[in-house]
């Protein structure tokens, strides 16, 4: 019975994995520039980067950006649907507070919503 794996095969496997891991690390560093667009009455009110933690207050509504995600954390609306939506981080994700006419949409670095796989 001949050997199935030779040294070159093992070396190739290691090279591929190293290239892949380096590529993943490199791309995740460059491609994490996600932003959230906050709209009031359909007009763009503010565009915020998700890499900077901050709090935005519009009237009685408080929006927070923390650890690459954004959410309505406080609102005076009766249903609290916007607060219940929770934290958004995936490009294309959105939440809205209809009584206050405020919406948040997360976009990727290219500014276009990601296509679902």
């Amino acid at each position: 019975m001949k050997r199935i794996l030779c040294k070159a095969d093992i070396a190739l496997f290691i090279i591929i994995v190293v290239i892949a891991v380096a590529g993943i690390v490199w791309m995740s560093g460059a491609g994490s520039a996600k932003t959230a667009i906050i709209r009031v009455d359909g007009e763009v009110y503010q565009q915020v980067s998700l890499s900077v933690d901050q709090t935005i207050v519009i009237g009685d509504v408080r929006i927070e950006v923390k650890a690459g995600a954004v959410a309505f954390v406080e609102s005076d609306c009766p249903t609290q649907a916007c607060v219940k939506t929770g934290w958004l981080s995936a490009p294309g994700a959105s939440a809205a507070c209809l009584p206050n006419r405020i919406s948040i949409t997360v976009t990727g670095d290219s500014g276009v919503d990601a296509v679902a796989e």
Partner: protein, 182 residues
Amino acid sequence: MTTKQITLLAALLAMSLVLSVVESMLGALIPVPIPGVKLGLANIIAMFILCYFSLPSALAVGLLRTFLTSLFTGGIGMFLYSAPGAVLSVLVMYAAMRYLKRLSIVGISMLGACAHNVMQVCVAVLVTGEAHLFYYAFVLLIVGAVSGTITGVVAAVTFIKASRALNILARHDAKYVLSGGM
């Protein structure tokens, strides 16, 4: 090309179709967290044709396989999506057999699987225009290395027996590959 070769190639095409269909059924049975992960069983047939027939035969069978599989499973859109991967994978494996003579069939299989996966991501990037999908190519590179090893080991175990049973000889380029590299 002799009648025997044409008949064998037709039988191999039928086998690769069965493997493709079985593989898509396996994908539905065992859900994987990463989309696009496949074993690439049909690649075993592509390697067999590269070792015992010729590059044009391997390309023709690869294209026919992707065309017919797309008719079985997803429609013509699937063909445009998978054919470039199949072609590039065959070309890369052929070049590796000629020039990277230290590799055994397992290494060739890894390269073929990786080429196939990366090409599929490239097609997806072209179709959607989303450059950040390239990120996914690196994930599928690792998947290709693992699945290529599995299919390569299957090839190493079966090829010599199969060729003896069929009474066909390996192309001289493929001899190093089949004997476990230099």
